[in-house]
Symmetry: C2
Subunit: 375 residues, 2 copies
Amino acid sequence: MEFVIHSETLKKALNIVSRVVSGNPSVPVMSGFKLEGVKDRLIVTGGDSDISIIKTIDLKDSPQEKMVEQGSLVVPAKYFHELIKKMPVNSLITIRKYNKQIFIKCGDIETTLSGLNEEDYPAAADVPSGDGIKVKGSLLIEMIKETQFAAAKSETRAVLTGVNWVFGEGELTMIATNSQRLAMRKASLKTNLTGSFILPIKALTELVHVIDKHDFIRIFSTESMMTFQSEGLSLHSRLITGNYPDISRIIPEEAVTEVVVPRLRFLEGIERANLLASQWKHNNVTLALNMDEKIRLTSSTSEIGQINEKLDTVEVEGDRNFKISFDGKFLAEALKSIQDDLVTLSFGGSLRPIIIKPYNKKNTIHLVSPVRASS
Amino acid sequence: MEFVIHSETLKKALNIVSRVVSGNPSVPVMSGFKLEGVKDRLIVTGGDSDISIIKTIDLKDSPQEKMVEQGSLVVPAKYFHELIKKMPVNSLITIRKYNKQIFIKCGDIETTLSGLNEEDYPAAADVPSGDGIKVKGSLLIEMIKETQFAAAKSETRAVLTGVNWVFGEGELTMIATNSQRLAMRKASLKTNLTGSFILPIKALTELVHVIDKHDFIRIFSTESMMTFQSEGLSLHSRLITGNYPDISRIIPEEAVTEVVVPRLRFLEGIERANLLASQWKHNNVTLALNMDEKIRLTSSTSEIGQINEKLDTVEVEGDRNFKISFDGKFLAEALKSIQDDLVTLSFGGSLRPIIIKPYNKKNTIHLVSPVRASS
């Protein structure tokens, strides 16, 4: 195998693919990048048994680049990536495999790296035929960012460490919960796929990093795998197996009180209160509404101090006299994931979860469970 | 004590002073900021037994700020700093001490923090009278940056963990070495102070952060302490005790070969070679000069690979045939600390240190010791 490529083109491809190459994978050869030359295309693959990224570069796009000899090789990812990153900008790099050695030449710089056994490198996942589901990159990124933070960090219930994607009639719903808080986002989508899939957080994080918000992404799925494709790029992720809890009955339908507040001002108040709430396991912050229609946020840490602030509301409906304690960190994360200027808070009593929604929108819902004030 | 201050003024002062407040100091009260109101001035002090910073703010500078009641207090630094950082931008903050409680009020935000015992807070170091030595901030920052990286990281010889400042007749010399490499920078300076002082790295790092390059800094010294003063700010640092080695005889006077190279191109080559030199304790990189007047840089890691590159020189004088191995990381750090486009490398043989100097300048010298190629 031998090819000539622009340093910047190769750097860009390795920056993307290297993100999913592990330094210590279960299959040793997967610590490398697989490079394949097929006709005029260079195919760069990296990944582990959970996730892989394949970047395809058309060497015909530039007159100086070329595929001299087709073939394939696997090169140690860490050394190769660092080396290519440090090559002079806007130079041409020639890469040639001879026996097990990989020669990398760039002007007066000559490097040899020992290749890994390309025969051992696992074959790429088959991509199902058809068009898949087509979705705008920007929408996919937005939906992922609005939900993934709410997934469980602990592994005690594996399904909760992922985000549940439910394809229904003409819509996609993403749900994440750690059983103390929940984030849900719906969007309309032309889809002939129905079913429920649990995506690992790592795949979603990488997806947000590698896809272009201006591109259309095609989604394909089998029972155990989901594939995302855009121009020159594909990402394959293993799905988490198991049944995701049915959350439809958790979301309260009726509220005792609804309050509209400016999102940023409220978030800043919660973050101040969190400073003195970190003593508690659940970052206890207390919110009270009085007849004056102002919200009072309070928190305290014994021997350190206390904070107490009043916030104007924009609109109040229902019962004007209540008090509820909750995990201020969870509430802050929900508020940060929303873009809108105003949010609606719904309360069903001091033992029911708080519901947070962007004002006048129905496609996003956050839930935060109450905590006992002294827990 | 009670005063009113702009949130941004207080945030800026705490950002500076908090850098030297330790979370777990030997004297517990030093985990706080000391705030003192003297006439119209607020004096904010923080630090530990090695280093302290005092920032003075004149509340007369703004019509909305004022010292309502003189006095002093000590407030837990971490909580106070985080809280003030999160206060609304461009607001006014009122701080009042009553008994041991500190009340912080900003609009509808009311906080109480438990104060620490200000009686226990150590008195500030006395600043010697006189004008001290006057030096431009930019020169001081430049000299520190060009030397401090070369100090020893390990504590085996305490004096080598600092930078030696030698005040001589009309000049200041800074020297740092870990006994395998050395950095030295001289500058002319009007000074009536003579003597040798060893400054801890922490003090130098903080100095670079807090002083303004446009300001003139005044330096005062006693045997155990050095003080740096500029408008509204002073930094006191303990000095390292002990005798700094006499390095005047280490610097070779004569060279067998002198080579001038473009600094950045050479640095990039060394950094590429370092990628495959990390297997060795001393990051062995080998440099050879041949009759063609080109430099060859090589390094290798067994079972991974090797790198070999040729570099054009700008000028060569003396013996054109030699080879030397050295720690590539030390050479890269020396090259990074230099700003000039060209550097002169002087070689005295494969067992003598390499000397690196900015081309045609005499006030900066770096030394890197050779290593045995197979060590």
